[in-house]
């Protein structure tokens, strides 16, 4: 017996459950860290360990609001990727795999990474 069931493969109509949201944000944050995060980190490390002039120019770059915003975005990406990654490690060993705890832990990941980002943001400004 087959009942006709609605199939939504339209991304706009799919309502993503919270664990799904954490999952896709894990992927998006990972891609952002690869595309922007790693080169910026290397550039920053090189300037910070170089001559006093290169350190000074790095500092003045940090003072620009737009740069700070990008950095804050990357900080969020790192923190979300970190927290969601730890959650995935627990799921790997079958901890918190049921619906209710999985939903709870995804809320924790979203809230904690945003709160820590806010904390860094306050210190950055």
């Amino acid at each position: 017996m087959t009942r006709p069931r609605p199939v939504y493969l339209d991304l706009v109509r799919i309502r993503l459950p919270l664990p799904g949201l954490v999952s896709i944000l894990h992927r998006i944050s990972g891609a952002a860290l690869f595309l922007i995060g790693i080169p910026l980190l290397l550039l920053g490390l090189q300037s910070s360990l170089g001559s006093p002039e290169s350190l000074a120019s790095l500092r003045s770059m940090f003072d620009q609001p737009l740069v700070k915003l990008v950095l804050l975005g990357l900080v969020w990406a790192y923190l979300h990727h970190f927290c969601a990654g730890i959650r995935f490690l627990f799921l790997d060993v079958h901890r918190g795999i049921d619906l209710a705890p999985a939903r709870r832990s995804s809320v924790v990941v979203l809230v904690v990474s945003l709160a820590l980002t806010l904390l860094v943001g306050v210190r950055l400004w």
């Binding site: 290397l42 090189q46 490690l89």
Partner: protein, 115 residues
């Protein structure tokens, strides 16, 4: 029985590598957190002292290599999921590897640059 071949045996090895490199990077991240907490922040002098330390450089290089390996597995998963034309996907995978190896070499240069 018709069988669908979906991959080779590299799947499990990469899955394990992705997790081991993740744990290594997490430990390195927590090391920074401890250093920052113990010293109540990190100023320029401490920053330079840290990177003058050989053991810390090696730890940083291990972090960088873990990151490169981890990013390779993650980006390859993304290319495999979304880029269907084989030639384009293969090109993007090659570019990813070349870029990551370049980053690793650059990190060595930064860490062991004469100062």
């Amino acid at each position: 029985m018709k069988r669908h071949v979906v991959g080779a045996h590299y799947g499990l090895k990469d899955w394990v590598a992705q997790r081991i490199t993740a744990v290594l990077m997490a430990v390195y991240t927590l090391l920074w957190l401890v250093i920052a907490l113990v010293n109540r922040g990190i100023d320029e002098a401490l920053w330079r002292t840290l990177f003058a330390n050989e053991a810390f450089r090696v730890a940083t290089l291990l972090f960088g290599l873990s990151l490169a390996w981890h990013a390779w597995i993650g980006m390859r998963d993304i290319w495999m999921d979304y880029i269907k034309p084989t030639a384009l996907r293969f090109s993007l995978e090659i570019i990813t590897v070349v870029v990551l190896v370049g980053y690793a070499v650059w990190l060595v240069e930064i860490l062991w640059a004469p100062r």
